[in-house]
Amino acid sequence: MELSKDITLGQYIPRESPVHRMDPRMKITLWLVLMVALFFVKTFLGYALVTLFLAAVMKVAEIPVDYGLRGLKPALPFMAVLFVIQLMFSGSLFADSPNVVFQWGFIRVTTEALRTYTLVIIRVLLLFLSVTILTLSTSLVSLTDGVESMMAVFRPLGVPANELAMVMVIALRFVPTLVDELERIMKAQMARGADIETGNFIQKTRQRIPVLIPLLLNSFNRAEELIVAMEARCYRGGKGRTKRRQLKLTRLDWQAVGIVALFLAVLFLQGYYLGPPW
């Protein structure tokens, strides 16, 4: 039993690729742009293009494809449930469609609904994959620096940029730690007779208690230790802090902008001229 194998969130693969060397601010910006663009893609062909693009980025960033995809695995059952629920309760949205695939009482599945929600699921999975690529290719330090410096724009509005960046980083940083801890506690309870792997839904939920209570307790202890450690290092938020590592935009970043812009143009043209149904 090894849980950490399937958790890619919060991991980082140290490499020297161009994707790794980019300025984190530009990387985050382009990633945001891509995320927004994803919401305007409405065809399978469009998503195929995005998938290809992400695959290319993974190739350049030297992220093994199977490892990148592994992170999607825990999300799949959740996605499946979401898909079914959406299909079941969306009948009224496509009420005037004649293409009924399946009908039972108020549950009415049409080809339009099938198409729409398949696209939604693909979109969510692609979003998840793009976050994975971002975190796998960006070290925590650069991620914080990037987020902090980008949020500094809002500082005049009273947004505590450094603190928010710190919150994000601590959350990400502790994902692998908590996964390890969860695994340890599950094993310890299994070693004293807990049956965590079998049983129906209710039994399984009840069997979470011996795992969740120690996990929560240890997390609180950990948080307290972290606070003391931060205090001991005189952490007082971002005020008056200077940085040894200065962020600098290089030619590489502008090349990346060019590539993404080009890709978005292709995506747009394809959506405009080829459009639905494909």
């Binding site: 039993m1 992220i63 299994m190």
Partner: protein, 296 residues
């Protein structure tokens, strides 16, 4: 008769990811019924990984692990029965306590076995006595009001309540004060001597290992570097240095004397044995010097 047999066992963490790390490279090992086996090795030597194979938390992909006649990789191997036979106490086991009172927490294991109520109670009482906690006093105590050493013994009782034949302890004295250490070690000795359990004892303290075990296995980066009687293994200074383990204090003293030309036998590991050996060597030296003066 051997109760656990490990053959050519290999293990890789995070297999199939960029973080893959092989930690066991073909380990062969047997545990005899009724013995106390020590497992030592520096950090990252694979100790904690290895012991998780003993109760089926890891299932071998390469190699074989047979526990009391059950091949753990066999299809349909009864994992529940296996975990009843081999009790595993992890590092810092007090972190796995989750119920309010001592009695409730120790009952968790027997309840999982769906035993009748009075048998659960009986087992809990027995397990508490086995770890040296009086059930009359501790049964209704709140877990979080106990000392570190007491909590740890409650956690050990939680595993004992399953009624195992083999108990595996992963560094059971880590982070305890001298008194807590002493109590845990005495508990382990009693489990072996009075209750006839087979004990596997993983530790970083060579002194504790020497005191407790009949046989010791040294792991070095996922391979077995030495197996044998503690006297022989723990006095093999060259091997200990190669593996990167420290030395027992007595060995350190004897080895220093040996380097300075004293004729001492390093296998006198106990404090008193070492003292006697030094006295003997001193007498021999004094005798030799006297003899040398005599011939001059």
């Amino acid at each position: 008769m051997s109760i656990i047999t490990v053959e050519k066992l290999e293990h890789t963490y995070m297999e199939g990811t960029p973080f893959a790390a092989k930690v066991l490279h073909g380990v062969d090992l047997t545990v005899e019924e009724g013995e106390v086996l020590g497992i030592i090795g520096p950090a990252q030597s694979g100790k904690s990984t290895l012991i998780q194979y003993f109760n089926g938390l890891f299932i071998p992909k390469q190699g074989r692990v047979v526990v009391d006649g059950i091949d753990t990789a066999a299809k349909g191997a009864d994992m529940k029965a296996l975990r009843q036979k081999v009790g595993l106490v992890f590092q810092y086991p007090e972190q796995q306590l989750f119920r309010e009172t001592v009695g409730q927490d120790v009952s968790f294991g027997p309840e999982c076995l769906k035993l009748p109520k009075d048998e659960v109670r009986e087992r809990v009482h027995k397990a508490l006595r086995q770890v040296g906690l009086d059930p009359e006093v501790f049964y209704n105590r709140y877990v979080f009001a106990l000392s570190g050493g007491q909590k740890r013994r409650v956690a050990i009782a939680g595993v004992l309540a399953l009624g195992p034949k083999v108990m595996v302890f992963d560094d059971p004295t880590a982070g305890l004060d001298p008194r807590g250490r002493q109590e845990i070690l005495e508990t382990i000795v009693a489990l072996h001597e009075e209750h006839r359990l087979t004990v596997i004892f993983v530790s970083n303290s060579l002194e504790d290992v020497f005191r407790l075990v009949d046989r010791v296995v040294v792991l070095d980066r996922g391979r077995v570097a030495a197996v044998g009687e503690p006297r022989e293994v723990l006095s093999d200074v060259a091997m200990l240095d190669r593996v990167g383990l420290g030395r027992m204090q007595t060995v350190e003293v004897l080895e220093t004397l040996r380097e300075r030309g004293w004729d001492v036998d390093l296998r006198n590991l106990g404090v008193e044995d070492a003292a006697r050996e030094i006295a003997r060597a001193y007498a021999r030296r004094a005798g030799k010097e006297a003899a040398a003066r005599g011939t001059l």
